[in-house]
Each structure stands twice: as structure tokens, then as C-alpha cells.
Symmetry: none
């Protein structure tokens, strides 16, 4: 079963936004056993959209379209789809009710232009969009499925998860695909590959292994293709367990979850609490934890002590330590860790300090120099890293390294 | 002058990587006066690549192709291009020398498979790639330009900057395109559209206005197309100024920058400092500020006081306030703000507290209830919002709302 994705909107074609929707949609489709043949980004022009629809439906069975559904004049997807299918427009009662409810909830006056959000091509089935005023639209024409969705990522994702993927699964006889993901941290892709080379070489043809590296952590994804769900699941899980046993020292989770979520889960199970003292990561570590529901059970909070003053006043770092060793040093990060454990009264803490760049580097401590400490009342790990000269990467790599260190410490404690 | 971008490779189609190359290339092309008509991601299959080339050259004058130039068997771009143009392959001396130098530099043995990196279609002009073994290739056939480049971002960017853009500028008489973006916060897309409807309707045909909304902020982008650079720039800026004057109360920047960067820039210009007391945003606000280089000039840091204990110990929120009004209340956020200003010694502070969800809601304070305070020694704004039941959105919307309130307060102070 083949699909194509068409994204509509000039903002992608002028490079103002990066199209992250398509990769997410491709992941969901692949997981459901549907291959993506082509992804096309086209302009907000009727003739161009129609050409793209014609080309896509010649190659694929399912055409997913995002974008161009806003209330303003440059949004022409709906009228173009109506023209493409040779139908008129109708005002959909459910979509209208949804628009009214959303405006009522936010206490905003409902303008005429907003009512048009409920207008859809006459031949579509409306898919409810609880997160926005633009409805999703499902068309079944000439044995092909066309779905039009808003380009706003969380609206598109809701419609995909709640309606599009389930409807496609119900409609088509899709092959069974079972994915099992193992999350590792602290070892590079090629080293992992060496350690499990014999397991990988001995995999049966219908099970594939992919390495998905991302800034210091590597996901190993086993994908099995077959018809017998129970047998395939067991086969893939057996292979996964062989890998987990082999590289157990770098395993963070035997599931496709975020690294920080794996840590939150482990700590929650042991009723442990965590606090942070962040400098160069500037709140990013806290944000990683707190984006997850239920994180408050483990994560108490902490400080973003970007200035030396706050390192002293909130964490109790000594003036003399900063003066003698500098803010980016083993001594400072150690005092930051101790300050967090003492003041924030958590079981474990993470402290980071470093030079994210692009300014602030010196010959001895170039941009990318980072010190990280993790620990509890009885044990700690302190390490330094050199991450290079890109600010965003330095922040992300520092966070991943800190999470990896905490993962190691928690594993050692439980041995 | 129209261009199309074709990216070749299954890793985009299975959603393993997000295509960031195309947005970057589109930016460079637009800045050079070349409009991008379509961006297509296609699979590593000869027939599919040839179809994509045929479709693109019917719509555009310039076709830029990335990917599929590696040494492994699934990389077939070069032989496909040779077939497309009906020519054979030749080994290029300069490209071969480059491959040899790169292998010598890294002390790696040169395998036969690596020599093939210097093989190119006979009709191409080779573009040197100093960052990798795959050469860029420039084709001029049937009055169309085709350029093939590696998909590795820093190799592609080098070839674009050093060769492709300069060659295109030398070859074509390019129109001038001027984009001007206005960043607004605090008013929805349709309300903005109503307020400036007459300005939009009166725009000349060669100037277009686009609305780019994102969780509480809306970018207004004017794009002008013409030949006379000075005149066009003035025309677009005049239109932008009319819009800015009309909706001045919601303007954050007259430039295409992030909202928090606009605030950092304004505060840096006035040598003002900022701290935060975050609860439900959990470090996200701090992260927004600190991702920007130079933020430490303004942003001192603050606390992620996720637990009630930390609200008391770090910010000095009163036990009685929490007990009587709850952690999510006007009284608590007010004390958080006062605590931040007092303890972190910044000119301005932001305090947020709310129920991000999915747990923690009550009938009186459902998930999505948020209190935000921004202020300095002499003035403050305190507001409550109801953002709904999605955790990630609640965090992002709260941050945007807080930034909008600070933007308003800074504007009022400067009146």
C-alpha cells in the first residue's frame, strides 16, 4: 500500500519553516504498514495543487494533504479540492458547532470569516478537529483516499492519531509490522554495531535492524514483517532480548521512549526524587523532564543559575571557588551538585556548567567545554566533555550526557 | 525564475530524518531572487527519480537535486542522471584527486568503491566538494540547469554557497524579491486580518501578504517581487509600516525573529535584566531565552519551582498563601514574582504557575488553568488563562502568553 504526502503553503517553499510534519506522518504510516512514495511541498496556487494531486494519485493509493486551511485569503485548499472533485461547497453542521464551541471557550466574538471554517467540499466526510477550527476532510474517490488536514502540527497529529490511521487500518488489508525499539545511551553507533555484529548478521530476512543515532543516544529498532502476529512478536522480542543482554551496560529502556522519560519511570518506581542545577543548559534539562505527564512525582525543580550571583545565592557556590577555578570547573559543578542536594532536598541531583558559545571561550576552556555532576547522598559521578562550537548542539549534547550519567549511576546503585 | 528541489533517499520517506536541507536551500534561492515552485522527496529508485526530473523540468528552469551520491549500492543518482541525459560515465581527474586527498588526510585505505566517487555523467561540469568525496555536478541541457549535490548538510551548503548561487546569479537576469516580516503577539490571525483588511485589499499585485500563526503569535510576511531593488524595498517597507502603525499594540518586532529574541534585544538595548520563576512551564521559558547566543547579557536565570517546597524555600511564597489560595492562584503567582525580583535581583521578572495536565485539575481549576505575572519594581501585570487539556500546548501557550505580557509591559513603560 503506497501513500503520498502533499504539504501546501508558501512558508515551506521560501524556507521560513522546516517541514517536520511530513517526517512524523511518514513514521506513522510506515508503522501501520503503509509505504510513502513521495513527499511534495507545493505553493498556495490552485493550478499547482491540482497538478500535484493528479501526479500523486497516479503513483499512490492514499494521498495525505496538509496546510492551506486557515481562514485567510491565501488559504485555498478547500475550494481547490472541490474543483478537483467537481463538486460544490457545503456548510457542515458538526464543523460549525466545533467552531462555535472553540470561540465560546475562549470568549472571542465569532466573525463571518470564522464561519467559513465550517465550509467543506460537498463530497467529503468531515473529521472532527478538537484542537482547531479547520476540520479534517476524508475523500474516497476513484478507489483512492484523499485526506486534507490543517498544517498546524498538533492539530494534524490529533487528526492522524484519532481518525486517519484507524480508518486506513480498517479500510485496507495491511501487512503486520512489529517494531521493537531499544534505547541506548553512552556508546556510539559504530561501537554498538561491532558489539552486536554477530546477532545482526544472524537475523532472519524478515527482521531488520536500524540504528537511529541522535546526539549521544542511539535507538536500535528491530522491525519484523509477516502475517502471524503472535509468532512475529515473539521472534522480534527474542532478538531484542539477545541485544539487550549483550549491551546491558548502555541500555536506558527496552521501549521507544525518550531518555529522560526512561529515567523518570525508573525513579518513580523507586519513589526517588530529582532536582537540577543548570547553567549552560539554561532550563533545557528541566524542560525535558517536565514535558512528560506525571514528572512532578519525581522532579521537584531546581534552578537555572545562569549568572555567577545566582550560583552563589541559590546554590551556595563559594565566591572563592568561582574566583580560583572559574564557573566552568570540576570544583564549581561539585558545589552546584551539593547545593542542589542540600537546598532542594531531593534524593538525586544533576548539575551542569559549561560554555555553550558562541562567545565566552578561552584557549584553556574553549566553547563546548562542559562539566557535569550527578549524584545522591552516597555517591556521585563528575565528568568533563568537549562538545564543539555549536550552541544548540552543546545544550542538547550536555543534556543527553547528563541523562546518560544519571542512567549509569541509577543502574550501578541497583546492582 | 523558478526552481525546484528534489531530495533523493528513503530515510526521509520513512521519517527517519527531517529534511532541513530544503528549507535552507529555499532561503538561499529566494534571497537570490529565485522562487521555489516545488520541493519533492523521492525514493532511491531509478524510474521514480526520472519521473521527478521530468515533472520538475516542465515547471521550473533550475532543478537542484540532493542525495543518493554515497558509495553504497542504494545510491543511484549519478547513473540515473546519465541515463536521463542519454550519456555515459567518465572518471573526473579533479574529483579523483579530491577523493585521494581526503583519504590521505584521514589515513584511510582507498578502496575501489571509493574511486567510483570520481565517476560522473559525461555531460556534467564538476563542482569541487572540499568537505567530502562526492562531487557536485552542474548540467546545462535544453535551456535548463540541473545541479546534483550530496545530501550531507554541510557538504551541500558549501557547494551552494561557493558555486551554485554565484553561478546562477551570473547566468540569469534575476528579479529582485524582498521579504519583510512583522512579528505580532496577543491577537489571533482572523482578528489581525480584520484590522488590516483595507491595507491588505489595497496591496499592489506584486506585493503579497501571508499570515503565519503559531500558538499565540502571528507573523505577517510581506513579499514583494520586482526589478528595482531600491524602489521595491521602499514600497514593501512602506506597506509594513502602515500595518505596524495600525496594530502597534501587538507588535513584538519588525523582523523575522523569535518572540523571546525580540524581548532579549529590547532589554539588552536598555541594559535591563530578567529572571524567571517557572512552575508549569518547567524550564521551557528559560530554555527559550538561553537558546539564543548572548542571552546571558539580559537573562540571569531563576528557578523551576515545581514543588510547593521550592516555591517556599527559593521564592519565599508563604505557606498560608499556598494553603488558602492554592499553588495556582493570583496570590501565589504574585508572591512568586515578588520573590524572583527580590532574590534574583533582576530588573524584570516573569512568574508562571498552572496546571499543565493531564492530571491535577479540579472543577474550579481545570487542567489548562494558568496564572502569569510579569513586572518590575514599579509595575506589574497579572493575568489568568484557560488553555485546554494538552500538556505540551499548555506549556508552549503559557510561555508565549508570558512573553506577550512582558512585551506589552516593556512597550507601556517606554511610552
Amino acid at each position: 500500500m503506497l501513500a503520498e504526502i502533499i504539504t501546501i503553503g508558501d512558508e515551506i517553499l521560501i524556507g521560513q519553516i522546516v517541514d517536520t510534519n511530513s517526517a512524523w506522518m511518514a513514521q506513522q504510516l510506515n508503522a501501520a504498514g503503509i509505504r510513502v512514495k513521495q513527499i511534495s511541498s507545493v505553493s498556495d496556487q490552485k493550478a499547482h495543487i491540482i497538478t500535484a494531486l493528479n501526479e500523486a494519485q497516479q503513483r499512490a493509493d492514499i494521498i495525505l494533504i496538509t496546510g492551506g486551511l486557515g481562514p485567510t485569503k491565501d488559504d485555498i485548499t478547500k475550494t481547490t479540492l472541490a474543483e478537483y472533485f467537481g463538486v460544490g461547497m457545503r456548510r457542515d453542521d458538526d464543523a460549525l458547532e466545533n467552531v462555535k464551541q472553540i470561540f465560546a471557550r475562549y470568549n472571542r466574538p465569532l466573525l463571518e470569516v470564522n464561519l467559513h471554517q465550517a465550509d467543506v467540499p460537498a463530497n467529503c466526510e468531515v473529521i472532527s478537529n478538537k484542537n482547531g477550527t479547520a476540520p479534517g476532510m476524508w475523500f474516497h474517490e476513484n478507489s483512492k483516499v484523499f485526506v486534507s488536514m490543517p498544517g498546524v502540527p498538533f492539530e494534524m497529529k490529533y487528526i492522524m492519531d484519532e481518525a486517519v490511521i484507524p480508518k486506513l487500518k480498517a479500510m485496507f488489508q495491511l501487512p503486520y509490522i512489529y517494531h521493537k525499539t531499544i534505547l541506548t545511551v553512552g556508546e556510539g553507533e559504530s561501537f554498538l554495531a561491532e558489539r552486536i555484529a554477530d546477532i545482526e548478521d544472524a537475523l532472519p530476512a524478515h527482521i531488520k535492524l536500524a540504528y537511529l543515532p541522535k546526539l549521544g543516544s542511539v535507538r536500535l529498532r528491530l522491525s519484523g514483517y509477516g502475517d502471524n502476529e503472535a509468532q512475529l512478536t515473539k521472534e522480534v522480542n527474542d532478538q531484542a532480548n539477545r541485544i539487550i543482554e549483550r549491551v546491558s551496560n548502555v541500555i536506558a529502556a527496552d521501549d521507544d521512549i525518550a531518555l529522560e522519560k526512561a529515567i523518570l519511570d525508573k525513579m518513580a518506581a523507586q519513589q526517588l526524587t530529582l532536582s537540577v542545577a543548570e547553567s549552560c543548559t539554561g532550563g533545557y534539562l528541566s524542560h525535558l523532564f517536565t514535558q512528560h505527564a506525571g514528572s512532578s512525582q519525581v522532579f521537584l525543580g531546581g534552578t537555572v543559575s545562569y549568572s555567577d550571583e545566582l550560583k552563589k545565592s541559590i546554590l551556595g557556590v563559594q565566591e572563592e571557588t568561582l574566583w580560583q577555578h572559574g564557573a566552568v570547573s570540576r570544583e564549581t559543578v561539585n558545589e552546584m551538585l551539593n547545593g542542589a542536594l542540600l537546598n532542594f532536598k531531593s534524593d538525586y541531583a544533576i548539575a551542569v556548567t559549561g560554555i555553550a558559545g558562541p562567545g565566552g571561550g578561552t584557549p584553556e576552556k574553549p566553547v563546548g567545554t562542559v562539566w557535569i555532576a550527578v549524584g545522591n547522598a552516597t555517591g556521585k559521578l563528575i565528568k568533563t566533555y568537549s562538545f564543539g562550537n555549536k550552541r544548540t548542539q552543546n545544550i542538547e549534547r550536555t543534556a543527553t550526557a547528563a541523562l546518560g550519567m544519571l542512567n549509569t549511576l541509577l543502574a550501578d546503585v541497583n546492582k
